[in-house]
Amino acid sequence: MIEMAMPLPAKSQFFARLFRSKLALISAILLLAVTLVAIFAQQVTSNDPANLALLRRLKAPGYVDESGSYYILGTDTIGRDVYSRMVYGARISLVVGLSAVLLSGTVGIVLGLLSGYYGGRVDDAIMRIADIQLSFPTILLALAIMAVLGPGLDKIIIVLGLTGWVQYGRIVRGQVLSIKEEEFVTAARAIGQRDWRIILQHILPNIWSPVIVIASFSVASNIVSEASLSFLGVGVPPAIPSWGVMLAEGRQFIGVAEWLTIPPGIAISLTVLAINILGDWLRDFLDPRLKNIL
């Protein structure tokens, strides 16, 4: 456990230290590239990812059709451009990864603050809910809920968001428990400040370090979860180009059309690897003591 919260290191150090760690820098550049590609998907692709034609199905990478359109990564089982689907797939991964983190982070921080600050019954109730949730293997709980709800981009964000709060909740609670005893909180209470002001002004600003670290790792795990659930057929609907959906479709053609499974697999692995490396670096940058708990 961390005994005391530390203020965030100065912003000026951030880039200096990022540039000193080559691995972290490469990861940051890679993620920036993936993000830009996702944002400007329309500009970096020439073929519509949804445009299908059975006549050009399962063409190998480098295929050029009669109209002169170029398929750098070939076409899939119903003739769609694999490269375009990859690019638009980056959008899905990032959107799901980031929005789910925003949701689970918000829920986790709020519940963690309430649990740690008020203690007693509130704390008991929230922590028991966390216990129950932790007794399900995460992917299994998400899978079961998605199985009932049916596939959907919005649904998967909500399900991953609501199943992911426990980690934030527990850490924030622990942080609050130690900060609550600090003198500046006692002082604020002594001059009669309201609870919500103490929480927002004095406690919240001191708990960001572990939250940021958890959030960065969670973006990666959410991307993997979305891809896994989509791979299993309960994530996003098959019409949406997600890396997981592409892998599920390509799996049927192992040994026949490797260009369907290799590119999305590499994309997921590299993106997740880059986020994890950056998360490691961020943890060491913000507070090396977090190494023991995260």
């Binding site: 129950i132 399900f136 299994l140 079961a144 199985a147 791979f231 057929g233 697999g265």
Partner: protein, 307 residues
């Protein structure tokens, strides 16, 4: 003793919670009838659906339904599989041994690989070997299992024809699924062993042991490793959850006849009771394993019992 009772009570509470969540799944869309009937509802008249609803008791208040669900579950009645024409409980328990075998093999592989590699890495920090282990661990934590499984099938199954790509029965069938399932936990335990060892090595008693003139091997194995094991034991307990949850993916890829593949197949065929029972069973096993790990932990390190 108080620790034991408190921990047992907590486990009972969690099991109760699991039952509520599993029961609640049917109400996610607002109407259990819809969930149970699935696509079949489209071919039925409103009257037929209403009859079915009444027959199944879905028109009663939810708390009565829950009490009914709970009392049946305690007697081992988890509903009927309309696809397999068998009680859902039987469908799942028949598949359970395959899943437990696969998870157990994966767990053993994980322990056998990760701890020695972590130890080597920690005893020679910043050596090329250490960097290699760290890199493998980072990659292993980032490559999703379904992609790893596909790659293994591609190379060892399709190109080299060394290993069977699907099914079960021989020891060769175990290799690819168990490695796929274990990969994440190997990576995680390697890093954990390394960091835990490095931390213990800085403790005073290790310096004392060295000062006494003990051989380096004895210092590492008797003093450092033993004292680094506690966080690893906890992590391994928690990883049973990853292994059981991961079985859904691994079993699907490799056609392994376990609970995970059965759940996915049941989702496809809208066989809801089988999905529900499978999720309950895996959560219960996970809860049981965690309980055992906690009790074991309290036994290894008595300090925990007094928190």
């Amino acid at each position: 003793m108080r620790f034991l009772i408190r921990r047992l009570l907590q486990a009972v509470f969690v099991v109760f919670g699991v039952s509520i969540v599993a029961f609640g799944l049917t109400f996610l869309t607002g109407d259990p009838t819809e969930v149970i009937l699935g696509a079949g509802a489209d071919q039925m008249s409103v009257q037929q659906i209403n009859e079915f609803r009444h027959q199944m008791g879905f028109d009663r208040p939810w708390y009565i339904q829950y009490a009914d669900f709970l009392s049946k579950a305690i007697r081992g009645d988890f509903g009927y599989s309309f696809i397999r024409h068998q009680p859902a409980f039987d469908v799942i328990t028949q598949r359970l041994p395959a899943t437990i075998q696969l998870s157990a093999v994966a767990l053993i592989i994980s322990i056998v690989f990760s701890i020695p590699l972590g130890v080597i890495s920690a005893t020679k920090p910043h050596s090329p070997l250490d960097y290699a282990v760290t890199l493998i661990a980072l990659v292993g934590q980032s490559v999703p299992s379904f992609w790893l499984g596909i790659l293994l099938i591609l190379f060892f199954g399709v190109y080299l024809h060394w290993l069977p790509i699907s099914g079960s029965g021989t020891w060769q069938h175990f290799i690819m699924p168990s490695i796929t399932l274990a990969a994440f936990s190997i990576a995680r335990n390697m890093r954990l062993t390394r960091s835990s060892m490095l931390e213990v090595m800085q403790k005073d008693f290790v310096r004392t042991a060295r000062g006494k003139g003990l051989s380096e091997n004895r210092v590492i194995y008797n003093h450092v490793l033993r004292n680094s094991m506690l966080p690893i034991v906890t992590a391994i307990g928690l990883q049973m959850g990853f292994l059981l949850g991961g079985s859904v993916i691994t079993e699907t890829i490799f056609g392994w006849p376990g609970v995970g593949r059965e759940i996915i197949a049941a989702i496809g065929s809208k066989d809801f009771y089988v999905v529900q029972t499978g999720v309950i069973m895996l959560a219960l096993i996970f809860t049981g394993v965690n309980l055992m790990v906690d009790l074991l932990y309290g036994w290894i390190d008595p300090r925990i019992r007094y928190d």
